[in-house]
Symmetry: D3
Subunit: 210 residues, 6 copies
């Protein structure tokens, strides 16, 4: 029986907390297993809070998650473009991290920034052997076929989301709803995956090593 | 402003409790609004419990839901066919109830009986102006576009599911998981619908009256 | 039986006459029922006629249709962008009209402006509970599942289209073909909807109130 | 410039008049061009009229269309099966006619017989180089990509449909609606095809000879 | 770093050699890695050769591949049904092998037996955490997202296919074409997978263990 | 029997050698049959080699293929935009060549330039009666339904690809892989088309003349 190989994992999100909602549980498990986890966050999320606060929260969340490093894009929130510059920027981070697995926002989404992340990352990740779309609450028609059981880390995933405290403190109801929707989503994907709580992914392309 | 017209609503399910999971909240609301609600259950669900017990539970659930009548098909659980006989049988119930709206199991499902209900009902309901697919935990790739807010009846929907007591009493864990998955599903569809708890439907065809 | 609630309805189109072709019959019926109908036309359609003439025609058509107001975008015909500015502009009109229902161009279309309207409106309308795509002759792979019977207003819909007289007068054949294609389309969607003449819609998301 | 080769064309339909509605114009044009056209009708359509009458009408329609021969399946109307027997029966006709092009009912349809024709014919025609789905009024989600301009034979297509007189004479309104829906459909597909009247097809597989 | 767990792998095919074409390389690699590989072949393939010969060839191929055992269904070639009996039969083999991964024929295929294997297996495998569709030359619209690099076993995969000697010896040209199409397919899927030769799979559902 | 009409054929590609890979065999056959073949290459491919060299290679390949003329866009490699300017530019070439058939890159592709060619060409070609997508190695989810047998010109297609010598000479391995992938692709599409080697196309719209 072969020993599982250490992987370099890169998650790309448009805003602070996208990655945590979509694949936070999976990343925590991978980090704990000894894989190297990196995050690339393309904007500071300044439409939803004070820029420096959100950046700090993201850095804390990255540490809690076990990420080696949070890379930052310098794009403006709600203005992520589709062009060669962003593709090249992503390519550099992919190269630097020597990523084996990439997790990205899904293309069918009501948020324009999420659509742009997906569109550009499809190009940037063209030589990567495992590319997976994750979902967030604004995703549409997302039908995952790959799942990761996150039952054992569900509580930590919820904690991870509360580290984005500026998002949480804005309204008590919102706080509830983000955590609640993360849990409902995990539960819903769980019964699709024949497990209790799961995160669901749609593979763009996955060369499985056996 | 025109007064909303009274509708005849027919829900068709393969087994006792399919309808309740998929559109129980919506039917309760419609019954309460004064619409006439009917149920057609094609098998007695004898693979999952004692036949007479399940039939009795379904009748009770029908009353609690506010249905005028539960019609029964006489098909064997896990053996629902695809043929002219079942199509004609459904047509008779559609005619008898003069159905304006029909709710049916979804075609992409791991349970063969659910697939058969959908396939046959697509034919039987061909002259009906509102035909809607509902989801159950075995449904796959179900992407609803029509939603009904069931926040105000969620607790009653959960009660409705507990009326299928033979299903509930079999294992405490199962009981939990049916209610829990119904709630998680309602929550998940809720945030897609911009409401708290919702049921989601896929229209086959809906002639909206204005 | 509950009384139907008054709705605020907003239709968004790239050019003068897009809305009329796609959902003119439905809007006329809704206006007549007492709902408040608004139109947002993003360009003056200056590639297909004199700008001021087309604007005047659109205003007349809006009145004939029963719209409360025609809002105008200031985009250049064939140059509608995809960016934050157009999203925000649409959001303002959605907020001002407090829209319950939004009708928009479809995303799969040979005309670039129609694609852009759809892409941006998917974002702008993200909190709206009823969002519907309509078709025009350049739409592709448009498979409606929601229909409105327009048999009783078909002639008025055709009159509505003739109010775009600059389009009509350019060639007798074109006049014929617009009216004829609108009628053939209504007839084709009619038999899909089990009615005589219908308009067909694809819901992006529809929270039905019961 | 190469001379166009004579083709053997086989159209398969569940009931008398399916073929005429779906590809009658195309077949008439092909027959007139000198190609050999054959029809295979799987039932006598006895649910919609007297069996011998419908058979006679179909034979007349076949002659008017220019078909070399109408083959008959001996299946019962509304009971077409999915099995090896029907596959083999179709294979024999395909072999006998040495068919280059095959036209068949579409798989997504509210009529069970149409679904069965499609499902079985997909197998029977597996070695045929041109296999095309046609639409009838009960087809759903039919998005043609191949079109044939039938402007010059539209009137003959309508005549062809009236040869199914038992269908026509049943009610004046029905007569109107069949002819009207055939014309509306041709007009609708026409503007998709950039022509006046067209028939639309979905290729399963088409090896174009150049 | 966790040690990779031993898996029970079951491949299901309609006829002798379906499994080998679709996932023979993957199975050989898994067997070599120490996983337990099982095959379930539903017919003896008697339409394509002498029954006992084909059965013997399949057993030899199973041994060469490294399978623990070849299970046999007793269905008639070209007559595989869709019913409870075949579902139960598959369920028994799934239970006996305690399968973690299941590989099955794809549902969109010109061969009716392949469609039936897929349809029934979707039900039988409903509690299995990894279910994957494989392709054969009759598959249609097969868009794999999961790939296995088979470069190092390609020659053995081709040998495996030649063990079905009755198929090979029938015509020199056929022999060539099966091996050639297997190699072309591996090459085609290879460049999609960013590797030299690959097998492609479509996941129905895959709960990845991390 | 009508004589086949001479056609004007225009192939549009993002970079030198896209057209050759995707439809080079088909174009060679059409040119040989006496049709007028034109190419429009939107960039000089300067990211993959020296601009003037690549331009010269493309001109040579055009001559070898039998094209009347190679038109050039002046877009920058990897920066093809989506806007009115490129749409108009394509429209001019379509008008100048009076194109009956247009071949274009496919929209679902990891290369951003290929996506842009497709998106813009869908608009530019809106009045053209035959519009076909071709595939290249970066295309995704490409499911052709129209095929052309290129068995008799396969070797010439491979020669055609070697005329892009700067691409070939860069690495012996790359040379191999382009030719090898072109051959594997032709072989793979061949068995889908029931022929030995084929090119596969997805029709956007094809008005077949009979």
């Amino acid at each position: 029986m072969r020993e599982a190989k250490k992987l370099n994992v890169l998650a790309i999100g448009a805003h602070p907390d996208d990655i945590e909602f979509g694949c936070g549980g999976t990343l925590m498990k991978m980090a704990k297993e000894g894989h190297d986890v990196y995050m690339l966050v393309l904007t500071k999320g300044e439409r939803g809070g004070e820029m420096r606060v959100r950046q700090r929260e993201q850095e804390m969340a990255g540490r809690f998650l076990g990420a080696k490093k949070v890379f930052w894009g310098n794009f403006k929130d709600t203005h992520i473009p589709s062009n060669k510059a962003i593709i090249s920027m992503m390519e550099k981070v992919i190269k630097k991290t020597n990523a084996d697995f990439i997790f990205i926002n899904y293309q069918d989404d009501t948020h324009q920034d999420h659509r742009m992340v997906a569109e550009n990352a499809i190009t940037s990740s063209r030589y990567v052997k495992g590319v997976f779309f994750y979902e967030v609450p604004t995703s549409q028609r997302f039908d995952p076929t790959i799942f990761v059981d996150i039952t054992d880390v569900l509580n930590n995933k919820l904690k991870l989301l509360t580290l984005h405290a500026s998002q949480v403190s804005k309204t008590g109801i919102n706080k509830l709803s983000i955590l609640e929707s993360a849990k409902a989503c995990a539960n819903f994907r769980g019964f699709q995956a024949r497990s209790r709580y799961a995160e669901g992914f749609k593979p763009l392309r996955f060369l499985m090593s056996l």
